[in-house]
């Protein structure tokens, strides 16, 4: 296998290369003092992006027009309600997790009901769903900040052999997602639907069932992420999901998943998530403000889409 063939077949290599470059630059700038702390922080925060990114990737794989914009609201609602339910009691941790998974299932189902029954395009359906979900979160939260149970907070903020627990959770979820995508019938189905929905239907694939499951999967991953994030940051906040709207899409695109659907890539999500966090922290160490960081993030996404569209792989 030549190097060029390797690079075109494994687009995630680019995101990892970029990650290493940014990591080295940042560490050199700070004189090497921060390398361990930076790596730990990068792994932790990247893990959240990875979890929501995987869900978004499944949805984007379904083909043009498929996207879930309700991710941030789902995270917020799940975090808020789970913490409220657990009420700082260690014994309720599992119930909290199950509640948040349940919230995800309901939101995913709601999204697809809007898309299918009311024939609303996914971008609008999920956005309006996100409005409803966010309002429910505001209504149930009422400005209270409830702490997570002691054990859960401890788990979310500590690590195993120097690797943050959150990153390990994300890794396990990634492996499961990879197996689903590459080895299972379901993975074949979503890829087929993403390439041609009509052809998929005529090949005997239950298209609507598969899409419903995918939207539910995405919402469940988002709500699990919200549950973990709220536990990690010591309480749910109403704006805790907002940054993950762009992030969940950006890591999918930068990671090498085809925006037009049908082709997805899990290792790339890791590379892209680490890269996005490291770029932000690099700009922080250089002393740039939040506005400039966001502008740069936008430019990076545009540049990646341009580059990915430019090199059409020859058939």
């Amino acid at each position: 296998m030549t190097l060029q063939k390797f690079l075109t077949e494994k687009p995630w290599v680019w995101s990892f290369a970029a990650t290493i470059v940014v990591w080295v630059t940042t560490v050199l700038f700070t004189g090497g003092a921060s390398s361990f702390g930076l790596s730990q922080a990068a792994l932790t925060f990247a893990a959240f992006s990875v979890i929501v990114g995987i869900g978004q990737m499944f949805v984007i794989t379904l083909g043009p027009g498929n996207i879930d914009l309700s991710v941030p609201a789902t995270m917020t609602l799940s975090g808020t309600l789970a913490l409220k339910l657990m009420d700082v009691q260690d014994g309720m941790i599992l119930f909290g997790l199950m509640a948040s998974i349940g919230i995800g299932l309901v939101i995913g189902l709601g999204n697809y009901i809007l898309i299918k029954l009311l024939r609303i395009p996914p971008i609008i359906a999920t956005l309006s769903m996100s409005f409803i979900v966010q309002s429910v979160a505001i209504w149930s939260n009422r400005g209270l900040r409830i702490k997570p149970p002691e054990t859960l907070a401890g788990f979310a903020t500590s690590g195993l052999f120097g690797i943050p627990n959150i990153a390990l959770v994300a890794l396990v979820l990634s492996v499961i997602a990879w197996v689903l995508l590459e080895k299972s019938i379901y993975g074949r189905w979503i890829s087929a639907i993403g390439q041609s929905r009509f052809a998929a239907r005529m090949a005997g694939i239950p298209v609507d069932g598969t899409r419903l499951v995918t939207y539910m999967l995405c919402a469940v991953l988002a709500s699990v992420c919200g549950y973990l994030l709220a536990s990690f940051s010591g309480g749910a906040a109403l704006n805790m999901g907002s940054e993950y709207l762009l992030m969940s899409i950006a890591v999918v695109v930068i990671g090498g998943t085809a925006v037009a659907g049908g082709n997805s890539n899990i290792p790339g999500i890791w590379g892209a998530s680490l890269f996005m966090f490291l770029v932000v922290s690099m700009l922080n160490t250089y002393g740039f403000g939040a506005g400039f960081r966001l502008i740069l993030t936008g430019f990076i996404i545009i540049a990646v889409i341009l580059l990915a569209g430019g090199k059409k792989s020859n058939r």
Binding site: V179, K183, S184, I185, Y186, R188, S191, A192, Q195, S196, F198, A199, A200, R201, M202, A203, G204, I205, P206, V207, D208, G209, L212, A258, G262, N263, R315
Partner: protein, 486 residues
């Protein structure tokens, strides 16, 4: 008809050749239309009727041959329009979001300046009154609000209307396809009036009665050539159908006499208004014939979707589909040949919902050999294959399933003859093993391979042919309404 030499040529297309890739759409066709005559143009699907219309109206430039309008050789749509050629297309071409008046403005650029709307209204209203006296079309309503028949009437009226310059030649492609008998008769009467005033009409219709009664001259096309060009009086329905068909046949196939045992594996109730019911028995090869676009593909899709849930994965597949329009509902362009082949039979290839790579590879190599997919490696992209080989993959996809019934939507479009013969062999052996095939084809040679044939017209099955009744003549006779029947 008494002074043919003095009549002027409106359009003369001589020795026209047009090719689309390997397909010869027109292979040296001649069509000359004089002023003051109505020419009827008939032929089976793919005979080249639409192509020659597109050449005459300037939409297609011929690859060989000469095209002149009233003696001058000019090219292009605007040149054709300037020469007084107007065309009413089979697919209605009005803008649905505009009113009737506004649509008239699109066709008649001279409607401009102050108050063009009301002048356009007068023009269309006047013309509609001339062609369809007593009509009830409101010219201020948008086309969306009109029925399909009213749209067709408006389009015909707009084409015949002329503000400064009357059209010299109006091409009517299936003008009565959505008109009822009364309106069609009005139109035919008007055509005769228009001819009497010195205009010309090229009339394309599948209703032979209209063609025979309205035209002065009838041109029959087949395989891109004009095979007959005689005065309308020299034809009758029977001789016209014969002129369209192939007379000489070199091959004969032995059809098996199917004994219909047990219940039908597939059935469909007849069309609500007319037609007969569809039934398929085990091991039969059933052809769906008739002119293209008369409901065969829809019938296949209905049969398929009815037996395939969109929500739940089916445990056992009973029915498989072979696409004709590969890029629309056949291939998955990002995938390898192998994945394209195995997608419909993943259930058999997996245990606990996980696809087994080795079983998939075995299936792939088996079919690669059996159906001779010409590729060095089944992992190559599907689009690396030629069209014919892609089509073989789609056949293999359907045949590799456990489905007992296979639906085929004109799957041999654009497939070369060698591949066809290979696939016919496989189909025959599979049918002998008890599989049922339902095969829509626009090619007579393929229809003749079937044990039983249903002929479609206007969305319904109008005839069932069994065994030796299956001949081009019978299929044509059933697919063309003979006037009395309509």
């Amino acid at each position: 008809m008494t002074e043919p030499l003095q009549r002027k040529e409106v359009v003369a297309a001589r020795a026209i050749k047009v090719t689309f890739g390997a397909v010869k759409a027109l292979d040296g066709a001649d069509l000359v239309i004089h002023s003051g005559e109505c020419v009827g143009l008939v032929g089976h699907n793919g005979a080249g009727k639409s192509t020659i219309v597109n050449v005459i109206n300037g939409g297609l430039s011929p690859h060989e041959g000469t095209l002149t309008y009233g003696g001058s050789a000019v090219h292009g749509i605007s040149a054709a329009r300037a020469s007084g050629v107007r065309c009413v297309f089979q697919e209605l071409s009005l803008c649905p979001n505009l009113t009737v008046n506004e649509n008239a403005r699109i066709m008649h650029a001279e409607l401009k300046g102050w108050n063009w709307r009301s002048r356009a209204g007068e023009l269309v209203r006047g013309q509609l009154q001339k062609i369809f006296p007593g009509h009830a079309i409101d010219c201020d309503s948008t086309v969306d609000d009109l029925s399909i028949a009213e749209r067709q009437m408006v389009e015909i009226a707009i084409s015949f209307a002329g503000l400064n310059q009357r059209p010299k030649l109006v091409i009517l492609d299936e003008p009565t396809s959505s008109l009822d008998a009364g309106l069609a008769a009005q139109l035919m009467t008007y055509i005769r009036t228009f001819i009497g005033e010195g205009g010309s009409v090229l009339l394309i219709s599948h209703i032979l009665g209209e063609i025979l009664s309205t035209s002065d001259r009838i041109v029959v096309m087949k395989d891109g050539r004009v095979v007959a060009d005689r005065a309308a009086k020299a034809f009758n329905t029977h001789s016209l159908v014969e002129a369209m068909g192939n007379v000489v046949r070199e091959q004969e196939f032995s059809r098996k006499v199917t004994e219909r045992t047990g219940a039908p594996v597939l059935s469909m109730p007849p069309h609500p208004r007319h037609g007969i019911a569809f039934q398929a028995y085990r091991g039969e090869m059933i052809g769906l014939a008739g002119l293209g676009g008369h409901g065969q593909t829809d019938a296949l899709l209905d049969l398929y979707l009815e037996h395939n849930s969109n929500w739940w994965p089916s445990r056992k597949r009973e029915i498989a589909f072979v696409a004709g329009d590969r890029s629309l509902n056949g291939t998955f362009p990002l995938w390898s040949i192998l994945k394209n082949l195995s997608i419909a039979s993943l259930g058999q290839l997996s245990s606990r919902k996980m696809v087994s790579d080795s079983r998939e590879a075995t299936l792939g190599s088996g079919w690669k050999q059996r159906i001779e997919i010409r590729t060095p490696d089944m992992q190559n992209r599907i689009l690396s294959l030629s069209g014919g080989n892609q089509q073989k993959v789609l056949f293999a996809r359907a045949l590799a399933t456990t489905a007992s019934t296979v639906l085929m939507d004109d799957p041999m479009r654009g497939v070369d003859i060698g591949t066809k013969q290979e696939v016919y062999e496989i189909l025959r052996s599979e049918a002998a093993n008890g599989r049922t095939f339902i095969w829509y084809s626009t090619e007579m040679d393929e229809i003749r391979l079937c044990d039983r044939v249903y002929v479609f017209r206007e969305g319904a099955i109008v005839a069932e042919l069994v065994g030796d009744e299956i001949s081009e003549k019978n299929v044509l006779a059933a697919s063309f309404s003979e006037g009395e029947a309509a």
